[in-house]
Symmetry: C2
Subunit: 215 residues, 2 copies
DNA sequence: CGCGCTATACTCGTGTCCGGATATACGGAA
DNA sequence: TTCCGTATATCCGGACACGAGTATAGCGCG
């Protein structure tokens, strides 16, 4: 009774996707992912890669297809996709796309506590963030034109379009918030200001009145 | 030489934020977070909570302020924020807001591999997702009006505004993609269709021509 | 008045993640 | 020739996450 596979690390999905094309050894998977700029959408670390490959093997989704050795280099184990592995890939992918999973972006945790900082500092930090996001977005533009120059069609770099769309929304919201915090137009602004009165040194108050600024 | 704190789990940030208000024992932190609907922006599980609290203590950010016991219930350890803890909270929060961290949303990994599914199936799945996102967004609307009815100002639920803004962008992109996939207007569409010719049963091809549809 | 349900308050074990260490090969410069 | 940086290829240990388990308390209901 092998316990069901938990589909945690998306790197495992990428591995299945690669093996659908051809047999590979782990290091080759990593280089191929890098070559295709997939490390932008899937977190890739060697430690995780070998853990994940082993988990997939123990669940029967991939098979060791043999080992090779070149000279005195460490032995390489080449893996191949099994039929259940192919089914798993298909199934996982469908699920990933059709059903939005709850994500916990770090910035959202920060926003929930942003009342702990004084309004003008919060605004300044958000402006910094918005600028950084702008740079990120234009950087993705150059990546896109680079890949287009290599002859890759839009479909082959579609996740960049997605990322840009989300980044733009993030930037717009952040900039809106910075302006609203400066202008004092947010509901609860007076309370926010009161909380940080006499907070010139920038450290946080000891005992806020009644309830948290964020709750 | 205590190794530097790595600021991994945002739950630790939330814990520091709570202790800034008043001393608490872990279970109380959990209930307070739930009460304030913060579990929407910070992942909260008991296992992690106790791990995180212990890590914060071992780094000197919080202190055991004493233990209490009611009747024969298990002993409760109450924690208090230290000065370094207060500084850490402030610093972490500033960093979280000003510097966008690379995130790896699961959907992006799926989008990168979406060429592995035939166009019409991909479109159908994306439409399902877009509908689910619509429901999510309206659900957040009711949460917002509920909290407003309780007298909480906008600032106290600002992270809901943020989440909605991002969800809307996600939904719009997803719907745009579904339509483009159906209409065949994406760059590389012919190639995409060819890949899945004769794929009526929905399983994936064995050997795709030359290169992956996503690479 | 005893039965089951929910709330309180942790604890533990297993699985996962990942930074850094290890070891060889190879090409070019000094 | 030897040194050094980079590419090849994997593994290990410890930190981390979290579901599931444990145990008591209190309350409502028949």
């Amino acid at each position: 009774m092998p316990k069901p596979y938990r589909r945690t690390n998306p790197l495992a999905l990428a591995v299945l996707g690669l093996l659908r094309e051809r047999d590979m050894h782990p290091y080759e998977m990593a280089s191929t992912l890098r070559e295709r700029h997939q490390e932008g959408s899937v977190r890739l670390t060697y430690g995780s890669l070998y853990t994940v490959v082993d988990a997939l093997r123990s669940h029967g989704f991939i098979d060791a297809a043999g080992t090779t050795r070149e000279g005195n280099r460490p032995e390489r184990t080449v893996y191949a996709l099994t039929d259940t592995g192919r089914a798993e890939l298909h199934d996982w992918l469908r699920d990933l796309i059709a059903v939005p999973a709850k994500e916990y972006p770090r910035f959202e945790a920060g926003v929930a506590l942003i009342g702990l900082l004084p309004p003008d500092e919060a605004a300044a930090l958000c402006e910094r963030r918005a600028t950084a996001l702008d740079e990120h977005i234009t950087a993705l533009d150059t990546v896109k034109t680079d890949l287009a120059a290599l002859g890759l069609p839009q479909l082959a770099r579609i996740e960049l379009d997605y990322r840009q769309a989300v980044l733009r929304a993030e930037r717009d919201w952040t900039r809106w918030f910075a302006e609203a915090a400066r202008a004092g137009t947010l509901g609860g602004h007076d309370f926010w200001v009161d909380l940080h009165r006499g907070d010139a040194l920038g450290h946080l108050r000891d005992t806020p009145p009644t309830r948290s600024p964020a709750g």
